[in-house]
Amino acid sequence: MTVDFYTNNSDARKLNKSIGVIKKGVHCELKDDSDVLRPTLTLARISLINYPICNYMYINSFKRYYYIKFRALVGDMLQVETIDPDPLMSFGNQIRSLYTTIIRQENVFNKYFIDNELAIRQTKKIQLVSLGTYNAGTGIYLTVDGGKD
């Protein structure tokens, strides 16, 4: 099978990772006991000279991305061992089409929901806001019965 090798520095939680191509279409052999989620491959070292900077691969046959590491074998061969599959990248388009309830979001939010994640100090800020000073003057008022106009 052919495999595309990349270098990936993106956070594993990123749906759309920024990956740099090292080499595409590298011929590899799938070990017999491999499964689709954590395959183990072998390839000739000469076919992937820059393998030390590779940490990510895409197997077109499986339609999946994987985090990988290399192990040198005798006879100038390399073994590619899968650390984990990356289902976020592998099924990114389907994930992006999910319509669901979002609890927290970086850019789409409502500031008036109570945020229990927020650290609030016990201290408080006391702010005085003046509306003005009462200054309506003073008067002495005598009220009497009757009174003629």
Binding site: K14, L88, F109, K124, I140, D145
Partner: protein, 846 residues
């Protein structure tokens, strides 16, 4: 040759800001410390370290025929760098613009100067032309970043504006909405027309309309479309999830009568995405991309195309019978700065000649009003980078590490007669822009390295081609970015060098404009209906004058009244009516309000005392004041239980208010009174809507009818009546009032004391005397929590959303509800679905 150029000036006024270079202009760069200097034939200078040379041709900007200097930030070295500009001399080009975005170190676009020159215009271009220049950019927080994603040979980014669309707007011959006419950039033959209604309206109608508008523009002009495509503008695919800001540079040019070129105006629009996923584009006042253009012509806003047209029409807009405008538009400006830290700034203006002219426009068939005369304000703020050796950044000891940054400028246009109020949070963008944004234009400047330095206010009035001098005033700013102090600087108000008139600028520190209400009552928000008119408070009659009469008396008249009470004639006249004359006095109270009345003699019962008092018929309301209550966080933290608000009402005490009703609104307090019983009622209004009231005892009774005193008085009076008029001059007080001894005249004397002093018989925890001696200030006590938001909080944790969205419409950190259904993901194993759900519900970056 220089003499082939025509000045853009009109009349005999000299616009000193324009510089008209010859066709071949040598621009010398001199780097001095971290500031670089550009000199144009020694006629002017601007600091810069990066240059974008652009000229325009009938509204189409290009870099053709300009030998663009290959200078980028950091490339300028000490000494002189000479750049040769070759300006194309084709005669049909009406005008050119050289744009020089200034850059300081690695901080781009902190100031921009545009030098413009105008060439003779050919005959066919005699219409008024407005041009625009649309820039679209991503945003990283509060500031806008527009950059071409290229790098120079040194790997440093080339920073320049990304031109997405250019064109021009031409007025229609038949009136109505002007059309955006697109021209072939070579033949100048119109290739299509598009209503520019979208400029005014489209941005508020959702992102799709904006997209459609731009697409329509592209489709209308094949040349332009292909040019855009060729520029590899990936950002041109205006995805609302990506683009957060749009800037439009507008201006106007006309050949008539003398090649007028207006000032260019940045119109920034920012995207507001709401929870329901509705996107709107709205004006974004803080302008970080250099809106200050070095010309003296007026600012035209997006709404003022008519003004733009009128500007170039001379006096033709005047009706025949209108009085001609005055030649002198000099204006007297008063700046009031109230408070040193985070002050309120008020600017008032008056132009005597303009006022006189408006008054003379009796027929006014032009329909001219104050609203048509515009007042243009500019606020510009500078900051120092505080990475300096000196411990005092405000002493005149700048080191080579210092540089001045034009950190904020804003322009506002209001109508004549509308005073302007600013406050520091409005006009200052140092903390707001940098803390919130943490990137963009100031990404290379640490927040704590910026210190406010001074602010410059500028203002003038204008209508059509008439205007006052451009007046400026500098206000010093010291302190930290978060707690600035405004201090008076040495520079008094200065006028535009070229357009001096008799305008004056007066600065008032720690004063408010006379009679100025800093918090005008806003219009009712849509969700609050104003109270019906008949429930609005009005002066109270409170039954005054029906069976009783209330007089306001002076202390002297009260004493005179007392003497009359105890004189001989009263008893003769009154004993036929009552056995006790005091019974005719309902009460006497000292109230904290001065009420005007009609002066007349005081009549007790049916007896005229011949002592004057002011007869009260109406008890007015007293509006104490108002304040705008701003939420500190503009979030849930502004409400209970996190934030509590109390108000102290004079004569009432402290009252707790629910922040739900008052936060973000204007609270005002109005008092009503019962001057018979000494009560007051403090009425609270929120945005003009009456929400609650609180009663207090503000009047101090003069105890003429209270038990002890009235019984005493009754006893005295009864004795007086029973023993005959004037028979008694010495009566022992006896058992009823052991504390008082003396004579009737002693009693009168005591009354006089009551009238001149403050006494009360009332008991309780909050007596009127206590109230009178307490503060008369009405104030709010707002206790708000101190939340600890880190700079990356939103990016790390997001904020509560609680709304349904398609994940693909979001960007940034996202947490889905655990109910998210991943079962429909085709091809994923159960383990992968579990992994996906784990990511979605614990947080991922969309």
């Amino acid at each position: 040759m220089a003499n082939e150029y025509t000045s853009p000036f009109f009349g005999d006024r000299d616009m000193g800001q324009f510089f008209i270079p010859p066709a071949d202009t040598t621009v010398a760069f001199t780097k001095r410390n971290r500031q670089s200097e550009i000199k144009y034939n020694d006629a002017g200078q601007v600091y810069a370290a990066d240059v974008l040379c652009t000229h325009t041709w009938h509204g189409t900007w290009s870099e053709r025929n300009i030998d663009r200097p290959n200078l980028y930030p950091g490339d300028v070295t000490k000494g002189n760098t000479t750049i040769q500009f070759t300006v194309d001399g084709e005669p049909e080009r009406p005008w050119c613009v050289l744009a020089i975005p200034c850059t300081y170190g690695n901080v781009p676009k902190t100031a921009t100067q545009y030098y413009q020159w105008v060439r003779p215009c050919v005959e066919e271009f005699n219409d008024i032309v407005a041009y625009y220049y649309i820039l679209v950019g991503k945003t990283n927080g509060a500031s806008m970043t527009i950059r071409r994603d290229n790098t120079n040979a040194s790997g440093k980014p080339i920073v320049s504006y990304r031109v997405v669309q250019t064109g021009r707007v031409e007025s229609t011959e038949t009136g109505g909405l002007p059309l955006l006419t697109l021209f072939d950039p070579v033949t100048m033959i119109p290739t299509g027309a598009q209503s520019i209604g979208w400029i005014a309206n489209g941005f508020n109608s959702g992102s799709n309309n904006f997209l459609n508008a731009l697409n329509a523009l592209n489709n209308a002009d094949d040349n332009r479309s292909s040019r855009f495509q060729s520029e590899d503008l990936s950002i041109y695919n205006i995805d609302p999830a990506v683009v957060s800001r749009i800037a439009i540079l507008t201006g106007a040019w006309a050949a008539r009568p003398n090649n007028h070129l207006s000032e260019m105006r940045w119109i920034n629009l920012t995207k507001n995405t709401f929870v329901d996923n509705v996107t709107q584009w709205t004006l974004y006042p803080p302008n970080l991309i250099g809106s200050f253009i070095a010309t003296g012509l007026p600012v035209f806003t997006v709404d003022s195309f008519d003004q733009m047209v009128r500007y170039f029409e001379g006096d033709s807009w005047l009706a025949d019978n209108d009085a001609p405008p005055p030649s002198d538009w000099s204006t007297d400006w008063d700046i009031y700065i109230k408070g040193a830290q985070r002050p309120d700034i008020y600017i008032t203006m008056a132009s005597p000649k303009v006022d006189e002219w408006l008054a003379d426009l009796e027929d006014n068939t032009s329909g001219l009003s104050k609203d048509d005369i515009k007042v243009e304000y500019r606020y510009r703020e500078y900051a120092l980078n505080a990475v300096m050796d000196s411990p005092n950044p405000y002493a005149n000891s700048y080191t080579t590490k210092d540089w001045l940054i034009d950190i904020y400028d804003d322009t506002r246009v209001t109508s004549y007669g509308e005073n302007l109020q600013l406050n520091y949070p409005n006009v200052n963008n140092i903390t707001g822009g940098l803390v919130a944004g943490g990137g963009g234009e100031f990404s290379d400047v640490a927040i704590n390295e910026l210190y406010p330095y001074y602010a410059e206010l500028g203002f003038r009035i204008h209508y059509g081609k008439y205007m006052s001098a451009w007046c400026r005033y500098k206000i010093g700013v010291i302190g930290s970015p978060s707690v600035p102090d405004f201090v008076k600087m040495q520079n008094e108000g200065v006028q535009d060098d070229a357009w001096q008139d008799d305008s004056t600028v007066t600065l008032h520190y720690d004063e408010l404009p006379p009679g100025y209400n800093p918090y005008p009552t806003p219009e009712f928000p849509p969700d609050i209906n104003p109270p019906p008119d008949d429930t609005s408070p009005s002066p109270s009659q409170t039954g005054l004058g029906l069976l009783t009469t209330t007089y306001k008396v002076t202390p002297a008249n009260a004493k005179a009244l007392g003497r009359y009470f105890w004189g001989g004639n009263l008893w003769q006249e009154i004993k036929a009516l009552n056995t006790s004359p005091i019974e005719n006095v309902v009460g006497m109270v000292i109230m904290p309000i001065d009420i005007a009345g009609d002066t007349s003699t005081i009549v007790v019962g049916n007896v005229d005392t011949n002592v004057n008092g002011d007869k009260i018929s109406l008890v007015p309301l007293y509006t104490l004041g108002s304040a705008q209550i701003k939420g500190r966080y503009e979030s849930f933290l502004d409400y209970e239980p996190y934030t509590t608000i109390h108000i102290f009402l004079p004569f009432v005490g402290f009252v707790r208010l629910d922040p739900v009703y008052v936060t973000g609104k204007t609270l005002s307090v109005t008092y009503s009174y019962d001057i018979i019983n000494g009560l007051c009622n403090a009425m609270l209004f929120v945005d003009g809507v009456y929400i609650e009231s609180h009663q207090g005892q503000c009047g101090i009774d003069i105890p003429l009818i209270a038990t002890n005193r009235s019984q005493l008085a009754v006893g005295l009076a009864t004795s007086l009546l029973s023993t005959g008029e004037g028979a008694v001059t010495n009566i022992a007080m006896g058992n009823k009032a052991g504390a008082v001894s003396g004579t009737v005249s002693n009693v009168i004397g005591s009354l006089g004391e009551y009238l001149t002093g403050f006494h009360s018989q009332r008991q309780g925890g909050y007596t009127p005397v206590c109230a009178w001696t307490e503060t008369r200030n009405c104030f709010l006590v707002i206790e708000s929590p101190n939340a600890s938001y880190t700079g990356t909080y939103r990016h790390d944790k997001g904020l509560p959303c609680n709304a349904s969205h398609t994940i693909g419409s979001l960007s940034g950190f996202t947490v889905c509800d655990p109910s998210v259904d991943v079962s429909g993901i085709v091809g994923a194993t159960e383990e992968e679905k579990a992994m996906i759900k784990e990511y979605l519900t614990t947080g991922f970056y969309a």
